[in-house]
């Protein structure tokens, strides 16, 4: 027994070769097993595609060490420690779940290793818990939904019923929406949170929504719950009487085809839709389709842009952990999602939000972009950190 532990460790230490000076060692921390495994795969593909597209003329080679977080905070932290202390990576990229981000935050901050967050949207991560070493290239929960509140009120939708799973992300998404929606004159007539990943039947909540007298329903669901929700919503015929709006994860290209016709006509807002009309996006989509045969999702573009942010930081002359962290905070470029820049006050990405409708296309469902809402910086939200040094 003991021999095997030693063998395992011998093997592990054998891998920890110091990186050559011009190499950048990247620790890719994603779930490759567990409920978010599909998101991990999507982000990794996007990330590799991003490196392939931008790193060739960067003058450095990127060495990638990938680790599976298993969507478990303790495992994520153990892997982070390994990447930082043993593999001595220069930069970390990834993290899908906010729980894992919460677990690694203090350690990453203390160790002074730059981390590019490629998904986890917890508001606090770029709020009270912000760190000069943590830069988020994905989104914050509030950011995605705030513009939608104003927009829906402007469309003349006066009364809304909201639904979301009962966990931090669900509450943050709905609260951000409700804040701007009511500020713009809308009224929330009902609000329910469903037990997270324990709800098989949304019927009881749907009946409440339809009895609430609302003009529309605004929801946040993701993954398997999103599929079940959209299908059940449609099966009750609510699509015809009570239009469904939501955070764009509801109808993510990653699984919208599993929702089928039920998703048609659902209007959602997100920081990315594969049908955004721009050269940068079309090139990305084409490359992604060529690679996987599937249209990229928001998760893929997050990985792609994380890679690009890293390359840009390196190109700006950053070589070690501190200079990389500093450079990452100043990254800005036009990508598939449009113009992106990092807000130096919070280290969250500032990006436009797209309102899109899911419609039937030639090959299954596609996204029709209805509006591009202007990019807004998140409120500082208690974030205090050293300013960018030049």
């Amino acid at each position: 027994m003991k021999r095997s532990i030693l063998a395992a460790l011998g093997l592990a230490t054998g891998l920890a070769l110091p990186a050559a000076a011009e190499d950048i060692k990247v620790g890719l921390l994603l779930p490759f097993s567990g409920v978010y495994a599909s998101l991990g795969g999507e982000i990794e593909t996007g990330f590799n595609l991003g490196l392939a597209d931008f790193a060739t003329d960067a003058g450095v080679t990127f060495e990638i060490v990938r680790e599976d977080t298993e969507v478990s905070p303790p495992v994520g932290l153990a892997k982070t420690r390994k990447l930082i202390l043993q593999d001595e990576v220069d930069v970390l990229v990834g993290i899908v779940s906010s729980g894992v981000l919460g677990a690694v935050r203090d350690f990453v901050d203390g160790a002074g290793v730059p981390l590019i967050v490629a998904n986890a949207g917890n508001d606090e991560a770029t709020g009270v818990a912000c760190s000069p070493y943590i830069t988020r290239m994905s989104f914050s929960n509030g950011q995605v939904n705030r513009p939608m509140g104003t927009w829906m009120a402007e469309q003349g939708i006066g009364k809304v019923f909201t639904l979301a799973p009962d966990y931090a992300a669900g509450r943050q998404m709905i609260e951000a929406f409700a804040e701007t929606y009511t500020a713009a004159g809308g009224e929330i007539v009902g609000q329910e949170y469903t037990p997270f990943q324990k709800t098989q039947d949304f019927g009881p909540y749907l009946a409440q929504a339809s009895a609430s007298g609302a003009d529309a329903v605004f929801v946040f669901y993701a993954g398997g719950e999103a599929i079940a929700f959209v299908k059940q919503y449609d099966s009750f015929g609510l699509n015809e009487t009570l239009p469904l709006y939501g955070s764009g994860f509801l109808t993510s290209p990653l699984y919208v085809n599993a929702q089928g016709e039920a998703a048609e006509g659902v209007i959602t807002a997100l920081h990315y839709a594969p049908t955004i009309e721009s050269d940068a996006n079309q090139a990305f989509v084409a490359a992604y389709v060529a690679e996987t045969g599937r249209v990229p999702s928001e998760f893929a573009v997050q990985g792609y842009d994380a890679a690009r942010a890293l390359v840009e930081a390196v190109q700006s002359g950053a070589t070690d952990r501190d200079s990389l962290a500093n450079a990452l905070r100043q990254v800005n470029f036009d990508g598939p999602r449009g113009a992106l820049r990092i807000d130096p006050a919070t280290n969250n990405v500032i990006q436009p939000i797209y309102v899109y409708e899911t419609v039937a296309g030639e090959n299954g469902l596609t996204q029709r972009v209805i509006a591009q809402l202007p990019a807004e910086a998140d409120p500082v939200n208690g974030c205090v950190m050293a300013p960018v040094s030049n």
Binding site: A37, Q200, E225, A258
Partner: protein
């Protein structure tokens, strides 16, 4: 919020629908337990497998192909499991059996991921069952009514088979006392085999039926396992009556809990389970006194 009668009828139907879905799943598990005295924790995984097989078949030959063949396929998996593992575990004691099936959960979870990938799949409701029916002044999805009807039909069939037929009498004898059953010349081994495979088939059927309603994801088996266990433990292991009672209790508590006490929704059913076990440590309608 004040609600009219239609609202409550709607919620009652929702509760009934959820109950029947859980009934289809739990009946196989509970009868296998009653007869063979072990809890097949991999039952949920078989349900997931049923959903996946149905989704694959539906993509080729439409919903009904999945509906009819998925249970057969999962029963086939049951044959393999029985002859490969379960039969050899017959005398190994309940703990070992529980663990083998725990191992099976792990193995089957990754097998479905390897075969079908991490992305969620789905099945469309067939045209004949799509749309809504108006009854008692409310509109209700036909597919959900279909699930209720299917649950009632399976319940009636099982009640008939268990209560009125030769094989049912044998199963009842086996549940009461397998030793006695063997003495009466019943081929207990064959009986186990049949019941196990039928139980697996029912798990597959419930997977196929649930697929259009929910999403087909690798962890669906794990997510449904706990509700199923709660159902059979509340109802009492090994009895048809227990399974139906447990399912109805779970369905109604879950549905009306969500409406009337939403902040307690996730705790309510566990509290109920704890309460039942405190008052009746072997569930409401156990097969044996």
């Amino acid at each position: 919020m004040a609600h009219d009668l239609g609202f409550w009828v709607l919620q009652a139907l929702n509760a009934l629908q959820l109950s029947m879905l859980l009934f289809l799943l739990s009946i196989g598990l509970t009868v296998i337990f009653g007869l063979m005295h072990f809890v097949n924790l991999a039952h949920g995984s078989l349900y997931a497998m049923g959903a996946y097989v149905a989704a694959s078949l539906a993509a080729v030959g439409g919903y009904w192909m999945g509906f009819f063949l998925a249970p057969v396929a999962v029963a086939g998996v049951g044959v393999l499991l029985y002859s490969g593992l379960i039969r050899r575990m017959r005398r190994a004691g309940p703990m070992a059996q529980v663990l083998v099936t725990f191992g099976l959960i792990f193995a089957l979870l990754d097998l479905t991921r390897i075969i079908w990938g991490d992305l969620a799949l789905a099945i469309d409701v067939p045209a004949s069952l799509s749309g809504r029916l108006t009854l008692l002044g409310i509109e209700y999805p036909v597919y959900r009514l279909f699930i209720i009807a299917l649950g009632v039909a399976i319940f009636a069939t099982l009640a008939f088979v268990l209560g009125r037929t030769q094989i049912g009498a044998m199963i009842r004898a086996g549940v009461d006392n397998d030793c006695m059953a063997a003495c009466l010349g019943i081929n207990v081994e064959r009986l186990f085999f049949i019941v196990f495979c039928v139980g697996c088939g029912l798990a597959g059927l419930s997977g196929a039926v649930a697929a259009p309603l929910l999403s087909v994801t690798p962890d669906m088996g794990l997510q449904i396992l706990i509700p199923t266990l709660i159902v059979i433990v509340i109802g009492g292991l090994g009895s048809l009556r227990g399974a139906i009672a447990g399912s109805l209790i779970y369905g109604f508590v879950q549905t009306f809990g969500a409406v009337l006490a939403p902040q307690l929704a996730s705790v309510l059913i566990y509290a109920l389970l704890a309460a039942v076990l405190v008052i009746k440590p072997v569930g409401l309608f156990p097969a044996k006194g």
